[in-house]
C-alpha cells in the first residue's frame, strides 16, 4: 500500500476515533485458587455465645473453655457468625442442612415434622461424594424417627437428617448414613466415628458429629453442673484424635466446630465457629458477617454443589478460612 494512502487511512482513523471515542476501564484483580478439602468434618455444639466479652457464658476466652479457646486462637475463628434463630435447636440444625429454618416450626418430633425438601446430604450424594452423620448415644437398630434418649443423652432435635423425608422414609438409607458415634453406653470415646476417620475406605467425604447433650455443652438432667468445663474436656480428648486421624493426615481435610445458638443472649449475639485442619489458615480471625446459611454456602462453593434455597444462595461462603 502506498505511503499517501497509509497517511490518509491514519488521519481517517484518528478523526473517526475522536468522534466516537470511548473510555476504557481497567480493574486490577487479585485472585487465589485453593485445593478444596476432600473431607469435611462438622461438630455441632450447643447453646453458648461467642466470648466472655459478649456475655459471661461466652466460650472463647472463658477459663472453663481453655481448650476450645486454644483451638480458636491457633486455627481460624469467625468472630461475626450468628445463628438464624434462638432457643429452639432444631430450626438451626435444619438451616445448617436444608437452607431454611422455617422447614420446621420449632423443636418437633421427626414423625410430626417431616421435611419434603432437598438437603445437603442429597447434594453431596449427587456430586459423587458420600456422607455419614454420627450421633453420640444413638442405639443401633432404632427406627429412623426414634426420639428417646438412646443409651444416654441422645437428642433427636440435634439430628436434622432424620427429619428429611428422603432419609426418614428410606430405612436402608437412614440406617447406613445416620449411625451411632460410640459403641459404649454413653459418651466418649466416639470409637465408631474415630475408627472411620482412620480408614480411608470407610471415611465419608462429609462427616457430621452430634455429641450427646452433656458433651455438646447443652447440659440437663444427668449432665455435669459445670457443663462448659465438661464439654471443653470432651473436645480436649476428641479433637486431637480427629486431627491425627488418617483422614486428616491426607492433608485434604477440614474440621468445623460450631454452636447452634447463643441462648444466653439474643440471636444477634455471635456464636463460636471454628475451622481447623491442614486446609485451614492458622491464627486467622475474620469479622466478616456469617450465619448458618454460610456453612452451606461454604460446602457448595468448595464442592461445586447446587444451592438449596435462596438463603444459602445469597449467603457468603466462608472460603476465606481455607488455604
Amino acid at each position: 500500500m502506498s505511503k499517501p494512502l497509509l497517511i490518509l487511512l491514519a488521519v481517517l482513523f484518528l478523526t473517526v476515533s475522536g468522534v466516537v471515542g470511548e473510555t476504557q476501564l481497567s480493574i486490577g484483580i487479585i485472585a487465589s485458587i485453593i485445593s478444596p478439602p476432600t473431607y469435611i468434618v462438622t461438630i455441632l455444639m450447643e447453646n453458648h455465645p461467642l466470648n466472655v466479652t459478649l456475655n459471661p457464658n461466652g466460650v472463647i476466652g472463658n477459663p472453663n473453655a481453655s481448650y476450645i479457646t486454644f483451638l480458636a486462637r491457633n486455627a481460624s475463628l469467625a468472630e461475626n457468625y450468628v445463628a438464624v434463630t434462638n432457643l429452639n435447636s432444631l430450626p438451626n440444625y435444619v438451616a445448617l442442612t436444608g437452607g431454611n429454618k422455617s422447614l420446621v416450626p420449632n423443636n418437633c418430633l421427626p414423625s410430626l415434622c417431616p421435611i419434603n425438601e432437598p438437603n445437603i446430604a442429597d447434594r453431596i450424594e449427587k456430586s459423587g461424594r458420600n456422607w455419614k452423620a454420627y450421633m453420640e448415644d444413638l442405639l443401633p437398630g432404632q427406627p429412623c424417627t426414634y426420639s428417646g434418649s438412646g443409651s444416654g443423652h441422645y437428642d433427636v432435635f440435634h439430628n436434622p437428617f432424620v427429619y428429611y423425608a428422603d432419609v426418614q422414609d428410606n430405612v436402608t438409607r437412614c440406617s447406613s448414613h445416620v449411625v451411632p458415634a460410640n459403641s459404649g453406653s454413653s459418651g466418649p470415646p466416639d470409637d465408631l466415628f474415630i475408627n472411620d476417620l482412620n480408614n480411608l475406605t470407610t471415611a465419608s467425604n462429609f462427616m457430621w458429629l452430634t455429641p450427646n447433650n452433656c458433651d455438646d455443652m447443652h447440659g440437663g438432667n444427668g449432665c455435669s453442673s459445670s457443663i462448659m468445663t465438661f464439654a471443653d474436656n470432651y473436645t480436649r480428648q476428641l479433637v486431637p484424635k480427629i486431627l491425627s486421624s488418617l483422614v486428616f493426615k491426607t492433608g485434604k481435610a477440614a474440621l468445623f466446630i460450631v454452636w447452634d445458638e447463643p441462648t444466653y443472649c439474643s440471636v444477634a449475639c455471635q456464636i463460636p465457629a471454628i475451622w481447623i485442619g491442614p486446609t485451614i489458615k492458622q491464627h486467622y480471625l475474620s469479622n466478616k458477617p456469617y450465619d448458618h446459611y454460610s456453612y452451606l454456602s461454604t460446602l457448595e462453593s468448595l464442592w461445586a454443589l447446587p444451592t438449596l434455597t435462596v438463603n444459602d444462595a445469597l449467603a457468603s461462603s466462608m472460603i476465606e478460612f481455607f488455604q
Binding site: S2, L5, L12, V20, I30, A31, F322
Partner: protein, 153 residues
Amino acid sequence: MTVSSTSRKLLFVLAVGLMFTAAYAYATTYLNIGGTGAITLPNSNLFADVTSISASTICSAISSSSYTDTSLSVTWPSLAQGTSSSIYICLKNTGSAIDKLNFAPGTLPAGVSFTSPQQGWALGPSGFVLSQLIFTATTTATAGSFSFMLSIT
C-alpha cells in the same frame, strides 16, 4: 512515486469519507459554539463501582461519587479448584452514546477462565448495569495467588 489506478480510486473514496466526517465534527462543534443547543460529541464514558456490590445491588441507587474510572481494584474471594465464583460490579455510562460492553481479562493462569453474562450488552447513555464477573478454575488449575488486569470498554 507512482500510484496505481485502484489505489487512486480507494484514495478518492477515503478522502470523501474524511471530508464528510470532518464536516460532521465541524458542524457539531459549530452548533455547540453557536449556543443553539447543548450538543456533545457522541462518545461513551464508563465509570465503575466495585466496592460491596452484590447480586441484589441497584446500581442506579448508588451515589454518583462512588463511581470512578481510576484506581479500581478487587480482591476476589478464594476459588476452589473445579468451581466457579462470581463478583458483581456496577457500571455507568456517563457519555451520550451507546456502549457495547466488552470485558477483556489480561493473561490468566492455565486452567482459569473468565466470563461475564453482560459481555456484548449495550449500555445506553446515562445508563447503569449490574455486571457479573465469573471466574472458573478447572480441577487441574494450579493452587496459588495471581493477579491480572480486566479491561472493560
